[in-house]
Assembly symmetry: C3
Homo-oligomer: 524 residues x 3
């Protein structure tokens, strides 16, 4: 994020008092409106991730993964308020290069001069934190226990907030070395993607995943997956453009450039994804197209307003290529990541961090790069080195911390679902949602003697049906068979309808003198 140390000595900022206490809180009215509006849009990315992940898994888990995305905000958001924001941006003693202290349970008084900027800053950071933590959910889909996931959601904030502080906090050692990561190719995506990889490894592949080779399993609802892509795509514009952290001074110009770069990169990545799709001898692959675009967006995120147009396209193409190339590779290595989060966010996120070291302009008068430039812009090797260090530190941290976290959680609640629960699907087992026509009923009967949950799952009605109506209609059918009118009792609406169902049905019984003709009418 671009809140480093831009000197507000230009005359454009006329209508506000610029605040100097902590670069995070240097926000004028226009800046605050900009980041607050963009935070609104960034939150919609949760919808995008939810729909994408839900569309990618098999139907018997589509609801469960959406619920996990809900829980990510509720629990992840709470812990970010409790300690995450403080760890990333706290400024009290004994804050050091590795961890911020203070700012927990942040709650500025309205008499505080900084109360507006603090609120806006927290909102913006919260939108980033929830986005980062939800990246992992896709990699854990279809086999992670819901309660264990809740625990993970609570604690996942730790994985994110530490490196965010290193790169964005005033105290951070990477920031102070000159690391650049504007909208978080590293802090958000690399961290999320590597954490996803760790989780996918810890959980192991889904049952029978590689029985038929490494081809991707069929998407449960490709339309929803593509809709998720679209929502993420537009959300990304706010994600990157909002990361100028305002519009005052020259920032509005870079905000516009960030949006253009984001679109151009996605076109580059989309082109590569389309190439992968069309090159596939078997099919025009949806997931390659989706992840090609997402991978390019991840790649351009870190230096979104530091690139020329053709560089954005190139960076996007490389990001898309690395994503599409790595996805099947991970499958070959037996790492089962149902939505490809490790490749999309991890591999391409690392590239996004490095790309800054190669291509970054110095966006004067902003101090984003501390006046440095990338290797290809004549800036020498320093920035590239720092970016490499950043990528390595973030990867090591997020892998290690995720493994430790999951290991601990597994001791409390086993993270992997019981195998028969996995076969029945989390929607049925956890939420009693019975999808019909996709083999759940067969699984139920095949696994019948196994002790699943206390309650029986056989009686769960199919999704979309109305059991009340069903029993009602069965009664009608029975009545027809008995050919003796219909006796039904149900609660009456307050307003009595003149011509009720029963009366209509009883009319023939009462009026007809010829029971045979009636019989005929019923059975017709």
């Amino acid at each position: 994020m671009e809140f480093q140390s831009y000197e507000a000595n230009n005359t454009n900022i006329t209508s506000t008092t610029v605040l100097y206490v902590g670069s995070l809180y240097k926000l004028s009215q226009e800046d605050s409106s900009w980041i607050v509006s963009n935070a609104f849009i960034i939150f919609t990315m949760q919808t995008g991730f939810g729909m994408l992940e839900s569309g990618c898994v098999s139907l018997k888990n589509e609801v469960n993964i959406m619920m996990k995305n809900v829980v990510d905000i509720v629990l992840g958001g709470l812990t970010y308020w409790l300690f995450g924001f403080g760890v990333s941006f706290g400024r009290e003693e004994p804050t050091n290069s590795f961890i911020g202290v203070g700012g927990y349970l942040i709650d500025p008084e309205i008499d505080d001069e900084l109360f507006g900027p603090i609120s806006a800053a927290f909102l913006f950071q919260l939108s980033f934190a929830t986005t980062s933590t939800t990246i992992v959910s896709g990699a854990m889909a279809e086999r992670c226990n819901f309660k264990a996931y809740c625990l993970f959601s609570l604690l996942n904030t730790i994985v994110y907030c530490m490196p965010a502080g290193w790169v964005w906090g005033d105290h951070g050692f990477l920031r102070n070395m000159g690391a650049v990561d504007i909208a978080g190719s590293g802090t958000v995506h690399l961290v999320g993607g590597v954490s996803a990889l760790a989780c996918a490894l810890m959980l192991g592949p889904r049952l029978g995943r590689y029985d038929e080779g490494i081809d991707a399993l069929p998407l449960g609802c490709p339309v929803n997956a593509l809709m998720g892509l679209f929502v993420l795509w537009w959300g990304w514009l706010a994600f990157n453009s909002g990361s100028t952290y305002g519009v005052s001074g020259m920032r509005w110009k870079y905000a516009a450039r960030a949006a253009v770069s984001t679109m151009l990169a996605s076109m580059g990545g989309g082109l590569v994804g389309l190439g992968f799709s069309l090159a596939n001898p078997k099919r025009i692959d949806i997931l390659s197209q989706i992840n090609g675009i997402l991978g390019s967006l991840v790649a351009v995120t870190g230096g979104c307003f530091l690139y020329k147009a053709w560089e954005s396209i190139l960076i996007g193409m490389i990001g898309g290529f690395m994503t599409c190339f790595t996805m099947p590779l991970l499958d070959k290595m037996g790492v089962d990541d149902p939505v490809g989060a490790s490749a999309t966010h991890g591999i391409s996120g690392f590239w996004g961090v490095m790309a800054i070291g190669f291509f970054a302009d110095d966006p004067h008068p902003l101090n984003t790069t501390s006046g440095r430039k990338g290797l290809f812009k004549g800036g020498g090797w320093y920035l590239l080195g720092v970016q490499l260090l950043t990528g390595v530190c973030l990867s090591v941290w997020s892998f290690t911390s995720s493994v430790i976290l999951l290991w601990i959680i597994d001791k409390i609640i086993p993270i992997r679902m019981d195998e028969h629960e996995e076969l029945l699907g989390a929607d049925l087992v956890e939420h009693r949602i019975h999808h019909s026509q996709i083999g759940v009923s067969r699984a139920l009967s095949a696994l019948h003697p196994l002790p699943s949950k206390k309650q029986s799952l056989n009686g769960v009605p199919s999704i979309g049906t109305n059991p009340g109506h069903d029993s009602f209609i069965l009664k009608v059918i029975r009545v027809k068979r008995l050919n003796n009118g219909l006796k039904i009792f149900h609660r009456r609406p307050l307003i009595r309808m003149e011509n009720t169902f029963e009366e209509k049905l009883q009319i023939p019984t009462i009026n007809s003198s010829n029971s045979d003709s009636l019989k005929l009418a019923w059975t017709n």
Copy 2:
């Protein structure tokens, strides 16, 4: 809404002439941009309500309820323009404490000094009005006649615009007593929720609703319901944050705070909803999770920028608790509200109005609370009393007016669907949309001799199929059986394709000398 009487005596408003005629129209360029942008987002809440409601009902009514949401904007919007805005905010004689007069068919001349602010104000109010009126549709789902609903949509504006004037209009008696309801816990949600309760009571429960106990019926499409939750969630940010009614002066700071409070409250409510879900012995309940979050959002709406962080969380938790606790209670009382709108918006809306009386800060220099504070902030009992009065007035008005309205409409068009139409589902009966695999065909055959509509419903093709192709393929199958080539006629595209289907199929007939091998090929 916060357009009361904020004194624009600070130096931040440099670029506009602040207008003093009517507090509603005191809008600078920045303020107008803020509320117009936020109105755009608030309109997306209609998408959220549509998806949530459509996902909650059984499949055979999922389209019908979406159509009702469309009609809400079309007809409700028209009447809001015709008279609703005038009743709420009119200032002409004989405007009194209970009703505004004038401002009907609002249409400012471009030479009018206020033409910009009036346009912006109307747009913002319109987005609120359509949101409020659509809350009711969920409670009427699956059994309300479509045409009667259209009539209700037209007139429902009355239920909303009167109390909105009481609380927000310059003339309103509640406003002049000091009632506070920033983004409408009362005027939007309590009114909508109580109206929903009235409608659910008037319509009576769905057929067979309580045959198997009070457990919720299965959701028709839980993924859509959860997507609706997400859309509403983010829309709510604009709803509350936009209700600072601008960003000039100190407003931008409170706008940021409103967004933070909204997120924090939703986390509190989400936690409670998750608790209810996990505590349910049978399942992790989707609807409790959804309505826990929505209930907390409703609760924080009224005083969205008056609370400290932990208070927002607490208010959200209480709102979520009241919602999740009341939902099954209403079912026990035989009130069938398919999406839980009465509990979510009504009960939690009342709590939201009261919470202001307990917790409100005085957000100086804004005049939102007229300098008053809530009970727990040392403001004494006055504000709490006014808020209680507001809650009672709004509840009584919306219940009574809804009952009268529906009673009148029922005299014109019966509001409840015929029972056999309800059993077949509104999608089939009203829209000829035939969902397969959910028992509609069985219902059709069971109810066969009943006079449903003029036209037959038996021939309606299943959703998602292509009847043109089906007949085409049946012809192919017939042709195969006859083993004598294929005669098909269909319209030609302008560009003749070189190698058509017929030719390919005819090749074996023409070239093959051995009819037996051909026969084999066909039957393979």
Copy 3:
């Protein structure tokens, strides 16, 4: 778009240097923030078009049409960057009245004084270009070859960027004659709609389309179609309101008016669509309701801030009427446009262009209409004449160029799918997505001996299923039948679960001494 020649001589623009080089780049910080934010929202219209089109086609093509919408942005966006923007807005020699030159591969240096405005302008124009080109995809649904469509996507930019230059470019002959088309009733919708008509004619109707009369085929997923309507509806607010091209000066007032006009027009069109729906003797027609609203939005787009409130409603009603009236007419003429794009965007777009000639105000101090007024406002016939000329030029251009383009593409890759591919559906043939329960399997078996693609399509698993699990469960069933325990091998998760599936299953085999009771247990 309203970037003509507004004189920035008012004092409101305090915080920026207003730039005079090219009216397209006269953007202050506020203006840029406005159009950049609105561009974000306009891009969401792609989601709307995708969901609408995907919901309108039969299920066996629902994914394919979404993919085409993805490709529209990727390829259409790339060519817009490569040459489209330059053709519309280039200013170098030899730019003439018909075509702009220069500005290709646009990429402003950060030292360029105009670098911010150019970035913002390009982003905004890009959002318009991708919207226009995607209109066509709906008309080509269900029968257009995917690879041919990719080629079309690449080149379709030509169809859009030429007339956009005529009406909006500084060089454009229509602009210099005084043509008015604020947000593109003509340049976006008429062009898109007429192009859609040309494409529908070139492709010919879907197989068997008119076998059962001209009634619309069943929508594949009406809920998605309605969701698409909603997304488009709100996106349109940004589309029209953003086309003030800023908020500085008086623009913010007209931006607010544009949004109000847009909503009012949509209510008018929605009312007409509802009338058509209710008047239909067979059903309350979803597509009439949708296209009535969209048609009215198209109609109001061109003069969105030039109308009084009741005029907006009237223009919307006429637009909605023309759309709903023309849709079945086109079907009678054998033009098969699955989503009605020709009527909605073409016919209503033409009306939108003409409506300006009848109703336009002179929105002083903006120079939108060059001081002219519509016929009914006392402006005489001139503006009406120019608008008529605009409508005719745009129609002729887009029809001719689309036909030529498709004709050329058809020589390279046949644009129409093979007939057996069309019968199987593009989802299966192109993407190997097998929708169950909609007749695809029957089609597969009926068309079996035909040479479809290299690979067999019979083995493709049904959408939403998990083939890995299926084979796993089949093994369980087989094991049960053999009654000799269970031997399964699968990859282990890294963390060994204490109590695995196999062990549980093996317990009876090992411990039980009575094989009969075990047998019983298995078969239970």
